[in-house]
């Protein structure tokens, strides 16, 4: 049997591939690339209370976003929250992934479902849960802490950064567990056994064998969590309220309340650029450091 019959090429392979990709390509260029380009353009337009949007190319919005202390404070808060959430999820998620990985079936499957499942439950519903738990003086958490005698007066969680950080950590923890879990799957158990047989105690095995191999997972999880935390919308909007603004809620306000679209576009584009720079930069660092782990 000749290979010509097997492949029956009527068109060249690249032509077929492009033809198959054409519908997806058309949609992604038309509905992702073009709107993004239009948004970048929009961020240079002028806007006035009475004249509306004026299509002239000026730097007014960018100057305002980059120099006004109000925006600086808001972006600092956004990245401070994102950094804290990243740290907390790493400290909680990495050990949890390790513990999950050491469980036997059926517990492993059950708890994996319990920990990762919330990822697919609506963010609004999960954040509502935190709003109920925090809920001012009557909130469940404050009641429990006061009953236990740990605190005298109720702690403020609603409308504070603390509350936003706690709720966001809950929302994003599964991503960290998932990333570390994926890295742990690649570890050869025999290496741990070898270390133990050579006389290493449990802590030494954890520190010298498991942690270095899990680290790429922790770092890639950290990048994901940071990017999602910095651009989170529903959780800061519900827990933080109208006054504790972050980048995403500010863009929302400019677009749907103030109607200053060019300024909102500048905020959104700046957030996108900042995240792309941070993500690509960290990825490059990690890949250089752990080149062999990504092969």
């Amino acid at each position: 049997m000749s290979p010509v019959i097997l492949q029956r090429p009527s068109l060249g392979a690249p032509a077929v591939a492009w033809l198959l990709s054409l519908p997806a390509l058309a949609i992604f260029v038309g509905v992702v690339m073009v709107p993004l380009a239009m948004t970048v353009l929009l961020s240079f337009y002028d806007w006035g209370q009475y004249k509306g949007i004026e299509p002239v190319l000026i730097l007014k919005n960018w100057r305002e976003v980059l120099t006004d202390p109000y925006f600086r404070e808001m972006f600092t808060r956004t990245f401070r929250i994102a950094l804290l959430v990243t740290l907390i999820t790493a400290l909680l998620g990495a050990p949890e992934a390790y513990i999950l990985n050491r469980m036997r079936s059926p517990w492993r499957g059950i708890f994996l479902l319990v920990i990762l499942g919330p990822l697919l439950i609506s963010v609004v519903a999960r954040t509502l849960g935190w709003a109920l738990l925090f809920g001012g003086n009557s909130g469940v958490i404050n009641k429990a802490l006061m009953n236990a005698g740990l605190i005298e007066a109720p702690l403020p969680f609603m409308f504070t950064e603390t509350g936003v950080v706690v709720a966001l950590s809950h929302v994003l923890l599964p991503f960290m567990v998932l990333a570390v879990w994926a890295a742990l799957q690649r570890i050869d158990v025999q290496v741990e056994n070898a270390a133990t047989s050579l006389g290493a105690d449990h802590l030494t095995v954890l520190r010298r064998i498991v942690l270095p191999q899990a680290m790429p997972g922790v770092l890639s999880g950290a990048i994901i969590v940071f990017a999602l935390a910095a651009s989170a919308f529903a959780t800061p909007a519900i827990i933080g309220g109208r006054r504790l603004k972050v980048a995403a809620t500010l863009a929302y306000d400019e677009f749907l309340n103030t109607l200053n679209w060019p300024l909102g576009a500048a905020v959104a584009v700046l957030l996108l650029v900042a995240l792309v720079v941070v993500t690509l930069g960290c990825n490059a660092l990690i890949e250089r450091r752990y080149a062999e782990a990504f092969r």
């Binding site: 949609i27 509905v31 509502l128 809950h170």
Partner: protein
Amino acid sequence: MSRNGPLAIAFHTIIVAFMLAPIIVVCLVAFTPEGYLSLPSREFSLRWFRAIARYPEFVSAFWTSLWLGALSSALALLVAVPAALAIARYRFRGRDVLAGLFLSPLMIPHVVLGVAFLRFFTQIGLGGGFAGLLLAHLVIVCPFALRLTLASATGMDRAIEQAAISLGASDWAVFRRITLPLIAPGMVSGWALAFIQSFDEVTMTVFVAAPGIETLPVRMFLHIQDNIDPLVTSVSACVIAVTVVGLICLDRLYGLDRLLVGQGQR
């Protein structure tokens, strides 16, 4: 393999409690017999579940979400399957760029996509309509459909197709009788994951959804912004119930960790 020590078990218990607490609280409060937010202490009542029917905006938002999720996921499969086959089996110039482009919505913050879609749809006259909403959701769920289809298309044994061709099957017959059944599990899981993503999406949708075609999460979000009452907890409890059922099915069908690993790329 050694077992987890008591310290590890304690840590694990705290994490599980942390993950479940807000979800359980929502479901408990939904059953309150009182007219205000409270944990049901005397009895469980369905009062607030019955109340949902009196709020047509929630009911219509639910149907919008359902249709939007089903349609956008189906359309996503329609464009993702050929693209996945192209990427899985041909080595051509621009292949990596294409793959990167198709997965890009995972890496762009949804708030940025929301802003971009709002501007775009208003400019081209699709603002505030279901068509715009559908296109927007198609774009954000497509990467999920693509990734799972791609995974099953890559793992496929090409020899079976070649056997069919050598036995005289036409291109269409090979696709329908061999390729399609082999990638079907990936397509079904891809559709389901895409559906859940669409059903839950709020950040991007809140920019695009006009009054009248709000999705359920958007309706819930806007309601919570005004006031938190037992009604929104009973609606949330329903959403949680739907998701949990879907989740367990997906776990059985595909394996949750396999489904979600790589979600990471966003």
